[in-house]
Every structure is written in structure tokens, then in C-alpha cells.
């Protein structure tokens, strides 16, 4: 494997990890506030559908992004009403949201375009185009630094940069802002937050709003930046990988970026080099594909490192009477 191949592999990993990163940060807000979110997959799917439809109809990828975020927000609010207000089971609600998204996207898509749930191919401004950073072309011929800058760092869609800029922002919100302190407290010990006169329900709602918006960006990226249109079940389990990355990162934003990049790298490797011959035996592509899940189980089992979820996660909050 030569230098350029490594650069190209890493470049692909970045592109593939962006969806995971958006969804993972989305899940982080929900789960840190004490609400389990296995509905990331469904929110991402409905967002990628809404984004593709609006981008196609208006010809603007940015309007598509807004539509995707709105659709995902609606689903997040269904989850919020069910689990925060009506104290429904968070897992059941999440499963239902995933089902609802995989059904609705095809039903509406079929009614709109009669193409078996697919949306028409997006062209021109309906798709996000690459941003070329300053001096990228000029530096391209410089050895080592040139390819790294012009191939790896420059030439991505705007959402890629937004995703990576979100990481320090989320870190700051979570650990340095008043909102973040309350958010973490509400996921660890909601009764104490309630005692301090802050509404647990309000905090959890606000967290789920953020979750919805971020997850919408993940979905919009999928259909208007990574691909050119919506295809049925296009999220293909990425919501669950993002959830795995969140656990792998121990519910911390900067680690989440690392985990998403690692899982993106594994996906890139399985795409580019299906079966890897390491001399003694061949690593099958299925092993590379399953590795994120295996790693997450290992972390969950606590044999290497230890996953410590927010303490109040999964429990509806009932005020004492």
C-alpha cells in the first residue's frame, strides 16, 4: 500500500464517518439527558427522505437539509411525547420510530414518484458540492503535505466540515455551559435537578430537540451529499453503528469523533479491500463489517475499558408526590 492509497482510504473514511458523527452526537444529547435513543436509524432515514424530496423539488440542497432536520425533529418529538410525557418505554418507542420511518419513506416516496420508494436522482445544486479550501490546487504538488491538504482535508462537502466543527462546540456545550451541566445532571440524577427548581421534562425536551436536528443533518448528508437521492432503507443500520460508536466513546463528544472515524475507516476498508490476505489466512470482508459491533460488545462487557452509561438512562422521571 503506497502513500496515495493510504490518503485515499483515509479520505473515504472521513466521508463515511460524517453520517456516523452527526448521528452519534445526536444520540449523545438524548442519552446524556437520560433518554435511550435506538430510533437514530429511523430519524436518519426519514430525514434523508425528506431532504431528497425537498432538494429535488426546489433544486436546493440547503432547503433539503432544512427539510431533513424538520422531519427528524418531528420524529424526535414523537419519541419525546411518548417517553417523557407519557412515560412510555424508551426502547419500544425507538423500535416503533424505526419501523415508522422505513414504512413511511417508501409509502410516500411511492405515492410521489412511483419508483418503488426511490426519489429521482439529484443533479446540480440539489446536491451538495465539494468545497475547495484556499491554496488546495497550488499546494497539490508539494510532496507529503500537498496530497494531505488537497486530497484529505480539502475537497469535501460543507456538511463534512460542519460535522467536525460541531465536535468542539458540543464539547463546550456539554462541559462548559450551564445548559450542559444541567443536561448531564438530568441524565445522572434527575431528582436533584428537580430539587434545584429546573424542569426535568423541559431539559429532556430540549435535549431531544437537539437530537432531532443533528440526526436530521446525518440523514440529509446521506441522501444529498454522500449519495444523489433517496433509496429505500438507505440508512442501512448506520443509526445502530452510531449508537455503538456512542457507547464505544463512553458518551463523550471528542471520543465519539474518534470512534466514528474508526468505524468509518473499517467501512472504507471493507469497501476498498474486501478480503485482506495477511499471509497466514485471509480476513473475510464480513469480519471487517462486524468489527464495530464486536468491539462495542467487548467494551460493554468491560473486559477492555468500561462503558459507564448515564445513571438515569432509560428511566422515566416521575415527580414524587
Amino acid at each position: 500500500m503506497d502513500f496515495l492509497q493510504i490518503i485515499l482510504t483515509l479520505d473515504m473514511s472521513i466521508r463515511l464517518s460524517v453520517v456516523l458523527l452527526f448521528a452519534c452526537l445526536a444520540g449523545l444529547f438524548s442519552e446524556r439527558s437520560g433518554v435511550v435513543d435506538i430510533g437514530l436509524e429511523g430519524k436518519m432515514l426519514i430525514a434523508s427522505f425528506a431532504a431528497a424530496v425537498v432538494a429535488f423539488e426546489t433544486g436546493s440542497a440547503w432547503l433539503g437539509l432544512a427539510a431533513g432536520m424538520a422531519a427528524s425533529l418531528v420524529f424526535a418529538m414523537i419519541h419525546a411525547v411518548a417517553v417523557i410525557i407519557y412515560r412510555g418505554d424508551q426502547i419500544i418507542s425507538g423500535v416503533a420510530i424505526n419501523f415508522l420511518a422505513s414504512g413511511l419513506t417508501v409509502v410516500i416516496g411511492h405515492a410521489l414518484y412511483s419508483k418503488g420508494g426511490q426519489t429521482p436522482t439529484l443533479v446540480g445544486n440539489a446536491r451538495f458540492s465539494e468545497v475547495t479550501l484556499p491554496f488546495a490546487d497550488a499546494l497539490a504538488d508539494v510532496p507529503v503535505v500537498g496530497p494531505i491538504y488537497s486530497e484529505l482535508i480539502s475537497g469535501h462537502k460543507p456538511l463534512v466540515y460542519i460535522a467536525f466543527l460541531l465536535v468542539p462546540l458540543v464539547w463546550w456545550v456539554l462541559y462548559r455551559s450551564r445548559f450542559g451541566l444541567r443536561l448531564r445532571a438530568v441524565g445522572e440524577n434527575p431528582a436533584s435537578v428537580d430539587t434545584a427548581g429546573i424542569s426535568v421534562i423541559g431539559m429532556r425536551f430540549r435535549s431531544l430537540i437537539i437530537t432531532g436536528l443533528l440526526c436530521g443533518m446525518a440523514g440529509a448528508y446521506l441522501s444529498t451529499a454522500q449519495a444523489a437521492g433517496f433509496g429505500r432503507e438507505m440508512s442501512a443500520g448506520r443509526g445502530y453503528i452510531a449508537l455503538a460508536a456512542l457507547i464505544f466513546a463512553n458518551w463523550r463528544p471528542v471520543h465519539a469523533m474518534g470512534a466514528c472515524f474508526l468505524f468509518g475507516l473499517l467501512e472504507a476498508i471493507s469497501n476498498l479491500y474486501p478480503n485482506i490476505d495477511v499471509g497466514l489466512f485471509v480476513i473475510p470482508v464480513q469480519f471487517t463489517q462486524a468489527l464495530p459491533y464486536i468491539l462495542t460488545v467487548v467494551i460493554l462487557a468491560g473486559f477492555v475499558g468500561k462503558a459507564i452509561p448515564p445513571r438515569a438512562i432509560g428511566q422515566p422521571y416521575v415527580k414524587e408526590r
Binding site: Y86, A96, F99, L104, Q286
Partner: protein, 365 residues
């Protein structure tokens, strides 16, 4: 604490929630410019209008009974097994290995062996998440999701490798042979008239599913282990004081759950496909959650819910011909809405209703 009458809890609340789900689904159908009543007509016609339709309905119901039971057994111990998908895949691999290893002379010999293969592999796939939950405290919800994906990768690996039939391009095993053929309803009911259940895939696994439903009822309400599972499910601390081993309950409930999920493969892999293919579970594992919820984790309710979901599933295919404007996935939307209203939003209708009954009783007193 006052409670509402049992009939309201068992019949009225699910009925109201189901109605709400169907109203919501009807609104979706209206929104895409179709007539919901036409849709109901065609779904019922497709699912129950002919013995072939009924045969398909019962075929899907068989899958949902297995996964619904699987979900409910773990749920009685308050363990959220959403790994039925992966456990069914493992069961399929187990059944296929048993059926391929021996040239079976007759299905009466092949079926018990395949039950053993499917349930041992299904239980085995649930064993690791169960152990990690019991000993390391890793939540089964997450580990079983992960195990679904790992199972999908493994079956892909096996069907492109050791288990692959070299005579075909497809990722599948060779045919299990005539000796492993399970009698279909078409063959069983042939003496009663020609063309009954014509070319429907429903087979003797349906009866196996009913037997399992009965056995689960016996297990949960008539055995010591079942009592321990329910006690543990109601209160971890109280059952610990009563000397019930959390480890034992967790492991057993998850193993039984996994074995039941694994048996889905008898219906699909052994009964219908007669060879192992890659994507034979097709979401039935997840649907088991809805079936378990609707059936209130009681085997009788689960069988009824499984038949309802079977009707939806089969009727959905009929839409393809009768109402081309509605995609089959409308069924998925209905099922999702049923989960939302009977599962996630159950307190929305149950709590006001409970208050209503309590007020009525106070007035009378």
C-alpha cells in the same frame, strides 16, 4: 391502590389503542390520496379471501408466534431481548447444519433433529448477551442489537464459504433433500378437498408454534422456573430476598427466548425454502416485539396478535395488484403505529381510563 377492572385492562385498553392506531393509519392513507376503506377491504380479501391467502397468513403468523413468544419470555424477566433477528439467523444455521449433515429418510425424524439444531443454536446466540448481562451488567438491549449484526455477518460468511452450494452462483446452501420436506397444509388437507391451501407455504411448523405457545404458558404460569422469572421481572430486589438467583433467571429466560426465536427457521428455512438463504428472517424478529406487546406477553394474546400481523403482512402483498398507488410498506406503517399506540403511548389512554373507573366506583360506593 385502586385498579380498574380486569376486563378493561385486558380487552378495552388494547382495543382503544388498536383503534387509534388504525385511525392514524387511515389518515396516512388519506394523505397519499387513497381510500382507506378500499385498502381494508383488499387487505382482508387478500389475507382471508381464499384458502391460499389464509395459508400465507398462517405462514407469516407462525413466524410471529415464535418471535412473539421469544420476546415475551425474556420480557417476563424484564429483559429486553431485541435480538430475535440474530437468534433466528443462528437457528437457521443450526437447522441447516443438522439437515445437511444427514440424508434424512423422513420428516418425522428430520423435524425433531432440526428443532434441536435450531433451538440449540438460537439459545447459544442468546447465551453470550445473557451471560454478559448476568455477570458483567452489560445491557441485553444493546448487546442483542450488536449480535443481530454480527449474526448477519456470520451467515454471509458461511453462505459464501463452507455452507455454499458449489453448483450455484447464489449465496445459499444446497437443497435439504426430499426426506426433510415438511408436509404443507396443501398436502395435509388434500383428503378434504382439492386445491385447499393451494401453493401456500404454511406447513406443520404452525402446529409446532401452537404447541410452543402452550408450553410457554405452562412454563410461565405453572412451573417453579416460570414463577421465579415473573417474580424477578416484577422486582429484582424482592426476588433476591426470596432467594431467587438473578443469574439463573437471566440465563434461563434468555436461553428459552433465543431457542424460540431460533425455531422460526423451521418454518422458513426447513418448511418453505428447504435450503438456507441469507435474508430469511425479514424483520420477523423485530415484529415479535410488536406481537408480544399486543398480546400482553400472554401466549393466547400472542397467537391472536400474530394472526392479526399475519393478515396485515399477507394482505399487504395483495395491495400490489389491487391498489398500485399504495406501496406494500403501508403495512409496516400500520405495524409501527400499533407499536406506538399499544406500546409507547399506552399510558396516554390507560391512565385517564383508570381514573374514570376509579371515579365511577367511588360514586357507587
Amino acid at each position: 391502590m385502586d385498579k380498574m377492572p380486569r376486563w378493561a385492562d385486558v380487552v378495552l385498553v388494547p382495543l382503544i389503542n388498536l383503534t387509534l392506531a388504525f385511525i392514524a393509519a387511515g389518515l396516512v392513507v388519506l394523505a397519499i390520496g387513497q381510500n382507506p376503506f378500499d385498502m381494508v377491504f383488499f387487505v382482508i380479501k387478500g389475507a382471508l379471501g381464499s384458502t391460499t391467502g389464509i395459508g400465507y397468513t398462517l405462514y407469516y403468523a407462525t413466524n410471529f408466534i415464535f418471535t412473539g413468544l421469544a420476546f415475551s419470555v425474556a420480557m417476563h424477566a424484564r429483559h429486553f431481548n431485541i435480538g430475535a433477528e440474530g437468534q433466528a439467523i443462528a437457528g437457521g444455521v443450526g437447522a441447516a447444519i443438522v439437515l445437511l449433515a444427514v440424508p434424512w429418510p423422513h420428516w418425522t425424524l428430520a423435524l425433531p433433529a432440526a428443532i434441536l439444531g435450531a433451538s440449540v443454536f438460537g439459545a447459544g446466540w442468546a447465551a453470550i448477551p445473557a451471560y454478559l448481562q448476568a455477570r458483567r451488567g452489560s445491557h441485553v438491549v444493546i448487546t442483542t442489537i450488536m449480535f443481530n449484526f454480527i449474526a448477519a455477518a456470520i451467515i454471509g460468511f458461511l453462505l459464501n464459504g463452507v455452507l455454499k452450494d458449489p453448483n450455484t452462483q447464489n449465496a445459499e446452501t444446497r437443497h435439504f433433500g426430499q426426506g426433510a420436506h415438511l408436509p404443507t397444509f396443501e398436502e395435509i388437507f388434500a383428503p378434504f378437498g382439492d386445491g385447499l391451501f393451494k401453493s401456500a407455504p404454511v406447513n406443520v411448523s404452525f402446529f409446532l408454534a401452537l404447541i410452543m405457545a402452550f408450553l410457554v404458558w405452562v412454563l410461565i404460569w405453572r412451573t417453579r422456573l416460570g414463577y421465579q422469572i415473573r417474580a424477578f421481572g416484577s422486582s429484582h430486589t424482592a426476588s433476591a430476598y426470596a432467594g431467587i438467583s438473578a443469574f439463573r433467571v437471566t440465563i434461563y429466560s434468555m436461553l428459552i427466548s433465543g431457542a424460540l426465536a431460533g425455531m422460526l427457521s423451521l418454518n422458513v428455512v426447513m418448511g418453505e425454502q428447504e435450503r438456507l438463504i441469507k435474508e430469511f428472517v425479514e424483520g420477523a424478529g423485530f415484529m415479535g416485539i410488536a406481537v408480544g406487546l399486543m398480546g400482553r406477553n400472554h401466549p393466547f394474546g400472542i397467537v391472536l396478535a400474530a394472526i392479526l400481523f399475519g393478515i396485515l403482512n399477507q394482505g399487504g402483498f395483495e395491495l400490489l395488484w389491487e391498489m398500485p398507488g399504495i406501496s406494500r410498506e403501508m403495512v409496516l406503517v400500520i405495524q409501527a403505529l400499533i407499536i406506538i399506540f399499544t406500546g409507547a403511548l399506552v399510558h396516554m389512554t390507560r391512565d385517564p381510563l383508570e381514573r374514570f373507573f376509579i371515579r365511577m366506583r367511588k360514586k357507587r360506593a
